[in-house]
């Protein structure tokens, strides 16, 4: 297992290095280049030349790249032109919010998706099955930002049940030692802040989690249908085992293997979708920060955030593969 993880980590190095080169060149290819982005379009050629020299932009690109990647490895992702603060700092500030949101979405997607998919498969061909399949097709299609808007309209505007914007009611006096507001509420034993942070996660979590939910439902359903026809399930039935044992040990344990892989792939979808979801709900996380940086043409932020996302995505999928190996003995042996 350790060798497996090590081999996978080694394989990641060239991909991430290549990606960093692409992202580095990407900033060079931006309209006007970084200097114009910094100085504005009406800067004099002299000023441009001076700044180019100042930032070492007159040197060959690979020297600049080595400089840059050295900084990146040391945690230096440049400075945001919009907030004038280090990109790494902004990332650290906004990422916990997005992690909270993405986890909420994931819990929703898996928590509702696996039982739904299982039920649909058990009732294959019934109205419940058809409803689930049709619903999941809708779920895959509906745009996150539109769903977010509808949820906001129904549950916040009309029913007044849940908050529409932000992570925490500003009137609540709360401390944030970790940046994970739900966790903070628990740590500081501030139940009001805890409940409020949770309430703020519900609607964005559902909006962000709907596409993953639809995908989990479909995969679970297809996978359970496959497993139900397996001989070993018939063997389990022939042993007269309790339905719960058959369901857990013999059906779901096998059927969830593809679901695990798919959940790993959702990490990328969730981080991308967070940009839209957080914009709709004014949720001050990583995605909202990216969205604001687009209009401000804050390329250092985009570069740093995209690189960071890729690293997170790749690592999450590595973790998923490891988890897969722990569940499936056949992979462990291979």
């Amino acid at each position: 297992m350790a060798a497996f993880v090590a081999r996978r980590l080694v394989l990641l190095v060239p991909i991430l290095l290549g990606l960093s080169v692409l992202l580095f060149l990407w900033v060079r290819a931006l309209p006007g280049g970084p200097v114009e982005a910094l100085l504005g379009e009406r800067a004099t050629p002299e000023a441009v030349a001076r700044v180019r020299g100042l930032y070492g932009l007159d040197r060959p690109w690979y020297e600049q790249y080595l400089d840059w990647i050295g900084g990146v490895l040391g945690g230096d992702l440049g400075v945001s032109s919009r907030t004038q603060r280090p990109v790494a700092e902004e990332l650290a500030r906004t990422f916990p919010a997005t992690v909270e949101l993405a986890l909420t979405a994931l819990v929703f997607a898996v928590g509702a998706g696996v039982p739904l998919g299982y039920l649909a498969a058990r009732r294959h061909g019934t109205w419940l099955d058809h409803l689930t399949v049709t619903g999941s097709l809708f779920g895959i299609t509906v745009p996150v930002f539109f769903l977010g808007y509808m949820l906001k309209f129904a549950f916040a505007e009309k029913l007044g049940l849940l908050p529409t914007d932000g992570r925490q009611d500003p009137l609540i006096d709360a401390e944030h030692p970790t940046g994970f507001y739900v966790l903070d509420g628990l740590l500081t034993q501030n139940m009001e802040a805890f409940g409020d942070a949770l309430a703020h996660l519900v609607l964005p979590g559902i909006a962000l989690g709907t596409i993953p939910l639809a995908i989990v439902v479909r995969i679970t359903r297809a996978s359970v249908l496959d497993v139900l026809h397996e001989d070993y399930v018939r063997t389990a039935e022939a042993k007269g085992l309790a339905p719960a044992t058959i369901r857990g040990r013999h059906v779901l344990r096998n059927a969830l293997l593809p679901v695990v892989t798919v959940v790993g792939l959702q990490a990328g979808l969730l981080l991308g979708g967070a940009v839209l979801t957080e914009t709709v709900f004014a949720f001050p996380g990583f995605g909202k920060f990216v969205a604001d940086s687009i209009t401000a043409r804050d390329y250092a932020v985009l570069q740093g955030f995209i690189l960071f996302t890729a690293v997170v995505f790749v690592l999450v999928n590595l973790l998923v593969d490891v988890a897969y190996g722990l569940i499936d003995p056949r992979v462990r042996a291979a």
Binding site: L271, G272, T295
Partner: protein, 298 residues
Amino acid sequence: MSLAQAEGAAVQEAPGGLGRDAWRRLRRDPVAIAGAALVVAFVAVALLAPWLAPYPPDKPVGQVTPTSIPGPSAEHWFGLDDLGRDEFSRVLWGARWSLVIGVVSLLLGLAGGTLLGLLAGAFGGWVDGAVMRLVDMMLSIPGLLFAIGVAAMLGAGLDAVMIAIAAVNVPVFARLLRGQMLAQSRSDYVLAATAVGVPRRWIVLGHVLPNSLTPVIVQGTLTLATAIVEAAGLAFLGLSGNDPSIPEWGRMLADTQRYLASAPLLAVFPGLAIVFAALGFTLLGESLREALDPKYRR
């Protein structure tokens, strides 16, 4: 394997591309019919928007203030938008933009992906390795962030949106096509066809390519759905440029969502339009997949 058997295998096991069998199944599938109906309606509206729309999409046709935006009425079925334009006409015209963005980005992505996939498949060796590593790299960035990056690089605008979405699809198609070519050229029926002496050129043209194309057709249909949604998403984030007269659905939704309290329907109409257009291609794509690929049949 005897010659006769090999011949039999070549005839029987080659899953016929868009065969008559698949067509028959499609026509009996209610999901396919619903999908096709939505797609036909969407394309018809896109093509006929200038004749269907009762008002111009880019000029005010009534008086509005931010606090009083008239809702649906007999003259204006979907009401007026925040600038006094006819919402119904704008939604109709929006179909045109969505179709153009979807089709162009699909074709660009398909072209790029085919080029990369063929490059990898045809040359093999280190070319294949390099192309596939590039594909891995592109796929390690979440699609929407990748698109944002590309669109930002090109400068906001609808053309940037199309290229950005195409770029996201390039690695997907490249991997799909390479995998298909590889799998097909190693399959039993190709072996069988080779064994009975079918010329190599005919095997590739008559068997490998058509069978590789089946999943590409399916993926293409599904990609149209995601392209429409992604384009709306990029427009929602302000990447479709500054021209407020263009009735793009995502942008309409972004521009009007601040009237959540006073005129909530303004954002609902373009939103529903996106859902139905994308749903049409999704339903059609899924039923195509089921009809063409025996694996998905139950």
